[in-house]
């Protein structure tokens, strides 16, 4: 038994503790995610080894799926070993005698199924059954453990390293290379790109909502929302065929005075042609946030008159200020080092109207290492005595703090100083866009980056600081992260619009947003009060304020199960609220109808109106 789960009293009266449920309140707890879940059955062992009150949950962690995904399942499994399938999903391999080595409950025997979408495991001798349901998209690496001659129980098998903060260990029978087929199938379907296979998203046939799948984000509408085009900004079609910059969308907003020819010249001076384009415009002050990649200054200190003029144009669109801040997201050391590779930063001399500020956000390699350490701290077991210092040593919260502080700084310049800001780092996508490395196997590890995760983490930090300011809840953020990896929806596939258009993502896959939008009640924050925070939120970017997002990073730990399923109650109360509201309307209608009918009756004298009390 693990020794660092919950209370671990040294001396224990014989048989003091058997298994104690985490909460006596409800039998069902919801696991906040829908794509991967694990259900625990009587974790507490009847032995006298410790499962203390706090650490164990003996109730069945019913796999909670969001409504729609449940409905997408073709048919309910008829027998115990059958695996529920999504529309378009098919079984590729099934191994009846596999042992899942759960880091919390120990070895569990069961049936393992590999489909083109997921790994599914269901225990056989446990009641209620333990169920694992892991989309292959979260698999980052599969490894063989032990060989045919390895000794010891469960020494032979495979280990699956996941992107969602956990690893899974399975043990197989040593006879007849029984793991080979499973291993090959996982390798094949977890890394479709490497194996020249389509993503599962292209085979997933479910449709949500009214089929307006991809209309949720309409770039023109989005720009209109910000008031573009207007007297200073226009929408350029210079990138229609991605000839200007292949990683930009086809429509970009640029200063009105800049011609398309200007854009080409500016793009030449920017790394990967990512020239400054509009990201956001302040509705009142017209101060803007523009983003780009680094200028190609290089060791020789090249300059570009066109780029300087263009930056000047950006500043000119904002009449409120005679200055422009250029926020370089990198630490200044990294920016200098980039000069050796032809990059660099805007020099004071060339851009006199601009002030350069470094935001000190580290590069993807540092972030990846930090996340790796965080995973080690959070999974599978947590060191009780050194939890806080371990967290500190990962620097994760520090990185989150710096990112948030950078965002606050930009917001402050735009909001308080009414000054426009140009943001860039090296390529202009690591710290703004992101690379997940979908569907490629471990060779692409070096390019993978947790930047999107950090973005979501920052959003979560803000939801913690401003509980009324966000319409969505934690489960929304976790669902997004789950499907960032799951490859069930096309939304996060590929690196840029050009690739997505080429692969016909819009025609052939489902958008995550239509999946989410058809069940908004699952993701609504009941505390959302638009009237309180109508303006800018300035989160406190202090280490003391940063919290470990245990609901995400530690969610596989059974000790993390919610003590009281608040979000279920929230959801129930929201449903009740709408029900009551409907009932009130209905009754009111009925009442007025009846009143009208009564009044139509001429003869009997009306009795006094019934007391309404």
């Amino acid at each position: 038994m693990m020794n660092n789960r919950g209370i671990a009293p040294e001396i224990k009266p014989k048989g003091v503790v058997e298994s104690i449920s985490l909460s006596n309140r409800t039998a069902h707890h919801s696991s906040p995610s829908n794509s991967s879940k694990e259900s625990y059955a009587s974790v507490g062992s009847p032995s006298k080894s410790l499962c203390s009150s706090a650490s164990t949950s003996s109730e069945n962690m019913n796999p909670y799926e969001t409504k729609s995904l449940r409905e997408a399942v073709k048919s309910a499994p008829a027998s115990a070993d059958e695996c529920p399938l999504l529309e378009g999903e098919s079984i590729k391999d099934q191994e009846p005698d596999v042992t899942y080595i759960c880091p919390y409950t120990g070895a569990v025997r069961g049936m393992m199924t590999v489909t083109n979408y997921k790994i599914f495991f269901k225990s056989v001798d446990k009641e209620p059954a333990l169920v694992l349901d892991v989309p292959l998209g979260v698999v980052s690496q599969v490894e063989k453990i032990g060989g045919a001659t390895s000794r010891g129980v469960n020494a032979y098998g495979i280990e699956i390293i996941c992107k969602d903060m956990r690893n899974l260990r399975f043990a197989h029978k040593q006879e007849n290379h029984s793991r080979r087929k499973v291993f090959d199938k996982i390798q094949l379907y977890a890394f479709p790109l490497t194996n020249k296979l389509p993503f599962f998203a292209f085979e997933f046939k479910e449709r949500y909502g009214n089929g307006e799948d991809w209309k949720v984000y309409d770039p023109i509408k989005e720009l209109r929302r910000m008031g573009v085009p207007n007297e200073s900004w226009r929408i350029s079609r210079a990138n229609e065929n991605y000839q200007l910059c292949d990683s930009y969308p086809s429509l970009v907003a640029v200063p009105k005075i800049a011609t398309d020819q200007d854009l080409y010249k500016v793009a030449e001076f920017r790394s990967r042609q990512r020239l400054p384009v509009l990201s956001w415009i302040h509705p009142e002050s017209q101060a803007t946030i523009t983003r780009s990649s680094q200028p190609l200054v290089g060791m020789t200190g090249k300059t570009s008159k066109d780029d300087e003029r263009y930056v000047q144009l950006i500043m000119d669109t904002n009449a409120q200020s005679h200055k422009l801040f250029i926020m370089d997201a990198r630490p200044s050391v990294n920016a200098v080092a980039n000069k050796a590779r032809g990059g660099g930063f805007e020099s004071d001399g060339a851009y006199q109207i601009a002030e350069l500020i470094f935001l000190d956000i580290h590069n993807i390699h540092v972030m990846r290492e930090s996340l790796r350490k965080l995973k080690d701290v959070c999974f599978p077991t947590i060191d009780d005595a050194h939890w806080l210092s371990n967290i500190e040593s990962t620097s994760w919260l520090n990185h989150i703090k710096i990112i948030l502080a950078g965002a606050v700084r930009i917001a402050d310049k735009v909001e308080s100083n009414k000054t426009s800001v140009l943001v860039h780092c090296s390529d202009g996508w690591d710290r703004t866009a992101q690379r997940v490395g979908h569907g490629e196997d471990k060779h692409s590890d070096a390019d993978r980056s947790p930047v999107f995760l950090q973005f979501i983490d920052c959003v979560w930090q803000m939801t913690q600081q401003f509980p009324n300011a966000f319409e969505f809840n934690e489960s929304f953020l976790i669902t997004i992260l789950d499907h960032l990896y799951s490859c069930l929806f096309g939304t996060f596939l590929f690196n840029c619009e050009r690739e997505r258009v080429k692969e016909r993502v819009q025609e052939l896959t489902v958008s995550l947003w239509s999946f989410i939008n058809c069940q908004t009640e699952e993701f609504t924050n009941p505390l959302y009060a638009a009237h309180i925070h109508q303006h800018v939120l300035l989160p406190v970017a202090s280490v003391r304020r940063m919290e470990v997002w245990t609901g995400y990073y530690c969610r596989w730990n059974p000790r993390m199960r919610p003590q009281e399923p608040i979000h279920i109650r929230n959801r129930e109360l929201l449903v009740l609220k709408t029900q009551l509201q409907r009932k009130v309307e209905e009754l009111q209608r009925e009442l007025s109808a009846r009143n009208a009918r009564l009044n139509l009756q001429p003869s009997p004298p009306r009795v006094a109106t019934p007391d309404v009390a």
Partner: protein
């Protein structure tokens, strides 16, 4: 001044409190053996003891316990018919002295063949050292039905050091707080919180799951002992999680039980002081309650603000409730005549409504808190309130209150309309406008609303 509706000085008398344990009154009685505070100067006049043990035995047993704090009933757990007792350490000393009367008192709780646990809040080594200095622990040989468990909690002196270190870390305003988490960890405050909740869980578990009675003590029986005995009751008894129940618990387990508030809370909680008697023991209790509160946000009738208020009043107060060290001193200083009780102030509708938890749903179950490190939090609302703006949190609570009110409003509106509809229908029928079958339909729609009143039944997935 305000009108006292209910006099707090009389609100929680021993007699009324004893009535809470109705079910055990066959075996237990109120004893006034301590009416002149001679047997134990720090106990109240009235204590709960086994019926089968006479006062003379108790007087002798008291001489065997430090400060005369003989084992008394602290809580009776109905579900498992087990009792929780507390005392101070036995004075067995290096020679292993014994006391027949103490053994009789302790053993009288046990039926034939039953077993119990003695939870010692000290580590075994600490208890051994205490023994060499005249204190000690119950030797197995003399208490054969009891099994001793050591559930180490640090002594109260280290609580104070930890608090100072933690507050220092919290108030360190230097811009580079990159050592925040390790400073917090090395203050050990959360370790104390963990140890205390752990011990309380073990006690609660023994009583609820193992169905055995428990005796808790540390050394003096006025600090860690009370932490464990009171927190176990929060875990076990839903009544202690209501406003009145919680007040009663503090009155019974802290004020009457003789926690020396005067010496422990002499200076301000964060004061750097050389006095060895100072210690934020009660603050730790409030902190532990808050930890459980934030893990079970729907199971407590009171809000975080209520806990903050109690903490403040335990240190500086215009009320007499937390004055003096024990009942004897309070009587001597005529506290009840010369001051107003905090409970008189709090227990008025206009004050109390600010302290209610809008999310409260009575939950009769035993609640098992988690002591995993990621479950224990720094109490931002208390320790960091000077550093971190609490407005967004306050606004969130206001929003919850609003939702609750709106919900109430809708419910009463539905009921009102339903009544109106029913009487209109009656009227219509009496005039022959509508025929009776319609009423049937209306009645069934009425049932629908009744069902909706319990969302958990109706909408559970």
């Amino acid at each position: 001044m305000f009108d006292v509706i209910e006099n707090g000085w009389q609100a929680f008398s021993a007699e009324t409190e004893f009535n809470r344990f109705k079910e055990c009154q066959e075996d237990w009685r109120i004893s006034y053996v301590n009416k002149d505070y001679k047997v134990c100067p720090t106990y109240p006049q009235a204590v709960f003891v086994p019926k089968s043990v006479e006062d003379e035995t108790i007087i002798k047993a008291a001489t065997f316990r430090q400060g005369g704090r003989f084992p008394v009933l602290s809580y009776y757990h109905k579900d498992s018919k087990t009792v929780l007792m507390r005392s101070s350490q036995p004075l067995s000393g290096p020679n292993g002295k014994r006391c027949k009367e103490d053994e009789r008192l302790v053993n009288s709780v046990m039926g034939m063949g039953k077993r119990g646990f003695i939870v010692d809040t000290r580590a075994q080594g600490v208890a051994k050292i205490a023994q060499s200095k005249g204190g000690g622990f119950e030797l197995e040989a003399h208490y054969p039905q009891w099994r001793r468990i050591h559930q180490p909690i640090e002594r109260r002196t280290s609580f104070h050091d930890s608090l100072i270190k933690m507050i220092e870390a919290c108030n360190d305003s230097s811009s580079s707080m990159d050592k925040w988490l390790s400073k917090l960890e090395s203050s050990n405050w959360l370790t104390h919180v963990k140890d205390i909740i752990t011990s309380s869980c073990v006690v609660a578990q023994s009583m609820d799951k193992e169905r055995v009675s428990v005796l808790v003590h540390g050394s003096e029986g006025t600090d860690t002992t009370l932490l464990v005995s009171s927190l176990s009751q929060i875990i076990l008894d839903h009544d202690c999680r209501t406003v009145t129940g919680f007040e009663a618990l503090i009155e019974r387990e802290w004020i009457q039980a003789g926690h020396p508030f005067r010496t422990r809370c002499n200076k301000s909680a964060y004061a750097i002081t050389k006095q060895r008697q100072e210690s934020p023991v009660f603050l730790l209790f409030i902190d532990c309650v808050w930890q459980i509160w934030q893990q079970f946000p729907c199971s407590f009738e009171f809000s975080e603000k209520f806990l903050l208020t109690l903490f403040q009043h335990s240190y500086s107060s215009q009320f007499g409730t937390f004055l003096c060290n024990n009942e004897r001193e309070r009587l001597h200083c005529k506290v009840a005549d010369r001051t107003v009780s905090l409970w008189s102030f709090l227990n008025r509708m206009e004050i109390l409504q600010d302290f209610m938890n809008p999310m409260y749903e009575p939950n009769p179950a035993v609640i098992w808190p988690s002591v995993a490190p990621q479950s224990l939090m720094v109490w931002t609302g208390l320790y960091l309130r000077g550093v971190i703006d609490q407005t967004p949190q306050d606004e969130a609570w206001k929003e919850i209150y609003k939702i609750r009110e709106y919900d109430q409003e809708l419910r009463s509106k539905v009921n009102k309309l339903r009544r109106q509809l029913a009487s209109l229908e009656r009227e219509a029928i009496s005039h022959g406008v509508v025929s009776p079958p319609v009423q049937k339909a209306a009645a069934s729609s009425g049932d629908g609303i009744d069902n909706m009143a319990s969302p958990l039944v109706n909408n559970s997935l």
